[in-house]
């Protein structure tokens, strides 16, 4: 490089400004790539991994249970007191054959929904309990556990596994509400103060996609319950480690 050429490539204000703007544009594109693609895949993988690890821990501690016609009343675990405690896993074959997500206590975006996946509304009932087991998760980005929430069809099974057993819910219907529609997580949805008799599950997420304008709500009702040591439902058997940690 000779001296004359060096003189021509002096730094100018407009040149620096232009390069800064191009750099900013590149960073915006990189961020979108991270948010919509890279982090979505990474977080989704971590969620499946965590769900698998959880069930592995639970199943290592249980003994096989002989089949029975009726398991009786569902076992209901006490609600975790600490935020971000993972106490259950979620399986929805309609969301994908290999769909498995961890459920943790709390609905904070930074504490639960981003790092873990599915969050349980504090104060709502637990899996299998009479009332409403209400959970929330992202519909887009961060692994998007409820990406396919709008594709649920009548009769679809929603499985929740805990250290105690597997709770099988059947999808019953959906509803669209405003962000303030807290009635959907009442023990009897939309009927405040009414004593519940059904065992429900409620899934909430954002609607439309990438928006905070409304919420999409999906309801299910408990169909059956079984202890964790029993033969798992055929639909999700391939997602659960063997009983006894084999």
């Amino acid at each position: 490089m000779n001296r004359a050429r060096r003189g021509r490539t002096r730094i100018s204000v407009v040149g620096v400004l232009g390069e800064l703007l191009i750099t900013a544009g590149v960073f915006v594109l990189l961020f979108l790539g991270w948010q919509l693609w890279f982090n979505d895949i990474v977080a989704g993988g971590e969620q499946s991994e965590r769900a698998h690890t959880l069930t592995e821990e639970w199943l290592a501690d249980v003994a096989p249970v002989e089949p029975a016609a009726d398991w009786g009343e569902p076992v209901v675990a006490p609600e975790p007191t600490e935020t971000a405690t993972t106490f259950a896993t979620l399986y929805v074959p309609r969301f994908g054959a290999d769909y498995a997500k961890p459920i943790a206590q709390g609905i904070g975006t930074r504490t639960v929904l981003n790092p873990i996946g599915v969050g349980h509304y504090p104060g709502t009932q637990m899996p299998g309990e009479v009332g409403n087991f209400a959970i929330a998760a992202h519909r887009t980005t961060w692994g998007a556990p409820f990406a396919e929430i709008a594709s649920l069809q009548l009769g679809d099974r929603i499985y929740v596994a805990t250290a105690d057993g597997i709770y099988t819910y059947v999808y019953r219907g959906s509803e669209y509400v405003l962000p303030t529609g807290v009635g959907v997580i009442d023990p009897v949805p939309q009927l405040e103060g009414v004593a519940p008799s059904d065992r429900l599950i409620t899934l909430t997420s954002c609607n439309p996609r990438y928006s905070a304008a409304e919420r999409i709500v999906a309801y299910g009702v408990l169909e059956s319950w079984q202890p964790l040591g029993a033969e798992p439902p055929a639909e999700i058997a391939h997602l659960l480690p063997a009983v006894g940690g084999a």
């Binding site: 991270w34 509304y121 962000p179």
Partner: protein, 52 residues
């Protein structure tokens, strides 16, 4: 700006290119690990929970 950076780097062009690639990788790593998750909390457009 980038021309100045290129001139400031030592060695032949191959070495400069390698240094730039390492720098770019470091910047990208920092973005993915700290900057982008932080920005995501600022531009978060979706809310998935019902609340009063």
């Amino acid at each position: 700006m980038y021309a100045a950076l290129w001139r400031a780097l030592p060695g032949p062009w191959v070495v400069r290119l390698l240094i730039l690639l390492v720098l770019a990788a470091a910047v990208l790593y920092a973005c993915v690990t700290w900057v982008f998750p932080w920005v995501d909390t600022l531009v978060n457009t979706q809310e998935v929970t019902v609340e009063q």
